[in-house]
């Protein structure tokens, strides 16, 4: 079923356009890298605060409120540009190990975020301004930054394993 979907994606006019014009793939790839650097960097601002390393004079809630719109905007650009790259060669990407790992790590990063918001964040009133947030919050920060660095690593690895 996944293969059928990928084949359909591969056969769309949009994917055909990307394959037919040799300037389009690198353009979307550059846009994807730019978006990912902003996703990773803006998430790092929050993660490093959760770890108690940086922005220690800023309450966590304020920092999150300020940074999150930047993260989500960049993430939306990354998904659209990444989806375009994926569509151009969908079946092969879907079977590519680094690509599968990248998707898995993104899923884990999402779960980490959900757990943080549903559990750890509920008690934030007690440690919002703490120089060193509690262990659960520090763990969320450490897991998040590690996963996102892994996502970049596997993303870069895709380029060395798929030939055009």
């Amino acid at each position: 079923m996944i293969d059928a979907f990928c084949q359909w994606l591969h056969d769309t006019a949009w994917a055909e356009t990307i394959r037919a014009n040799e300037l389009l793939f690198p353009t979307f790839e550059s846009l994807h890298v730019l978006a990912i650097t902003l996703v990773l960097g803006s998430i790092a601002v929050v993660d490093l605060r959760l770890l108690g390393f940086t922005s220690r004079n800023r309450p966590v809630t304020q920092l999150i409120r300020e940074v999150l719109p930047v993260t989500w905007t960049a993430f939306a650009v990354a998904v659209v540009s990444g989806g375009t790259l994926f569509a151009s060669n969908a079946v092969e990407y879907a079977h590519n190990f680094p690509f599968q790992m990248k998707m898995l790590l993104m899923l884990l990063a999402g779960l980490n975020m959900v757990v943080f918001h549903l559990v750890t964040y509920r008690g934030i009133g007690q440690w919002d301004a703490a120089l060193r947030p509690p262990p659960a919050a520090r763990a969320a920060g450490a897991i998040s930054i590690s996963l996102w660095i892994g996502i970049v690593a596997f993303g870069r690895w895709i380029g060395f394993t798929i030939g055009f």
Binding site: P26, S30, V33, L34, I36, L38, G41, E66, V70, R156
Partner: protein
């Protein structure tokens, strides 16, 4: 000049270090990953300050506070970028040394570094420097827009090194 650069690139390709980087398959992807993570830190720090100047990000905070929080340490990360970037050049010298995309990237990097200092330096002595007059406001907004465009273009040029042929 071009002949010298070609000779330099060809000599570099014969060095032991270059051969190691070429032959050990994990080195280039790993160094590239470190390079991208460092680019993420620098570009996000600069973008957040630029977006604050444009009034899009963290409006409740003074420009000077964000500038002090995000800009002073980017130079250390840029040093790491120079090291990882050099390793990538040593590994594939004929691809990058005479590549127009690489030359453009370096020219833009130098320009945007100067622009970043132009934004940051006056704030060290006077936190309200850029808010002091309408003229200064307009000047710093212009600097921020040029900075956003140049950093984006640096990422594009970096990726295009892989697609544009050396001359």
């Amino acid at each position: 000049m071009l002949a010298q650069l070609h000779a330099f690139a060809e000599w570099l390709a014969t060095t032991a270090m270059s051969n190691t980087i070429q032959n050990v398959t994990w080195i280039i992807p790993t160094v590239q990953t470190v390079h991208i993570v460092c680019v993420a830190l620098v570009i996000s720090a600069v973008f957040l300050v630029d977006l604050r100047i444009l009034g899009v990000f963290a409006r409740a905070q003074p420009i000077a506070a964000l500038s002090q929080r995000f800009l002073p340490w980017i130079w250390y990360v840029i040093l790491v970028l120079l090291v990882t970037g050099s390793l990538l050049i040593i590994g594939e010298p004929t691809r990058s040394v005479t590549n127009p995309a690489f030359a453009l990237k370096m020219a833009m990097l130098i320009t945007v570094s100067v622009l970043t200092l132009l934004i940051e330096r006056p704030l060290r002595r006077d936190p309200l420097y850029w808010d002091a007059s309408g003229g200064r406001r307009a000047a710093v907004v212009t600097l921020a827009i040029v900075s956003l465009v140049l950093w984006s273009a640096i990422v594009f040029a970096g990726r295009w090194i892989a697609y544009i042929s050396s001359i």
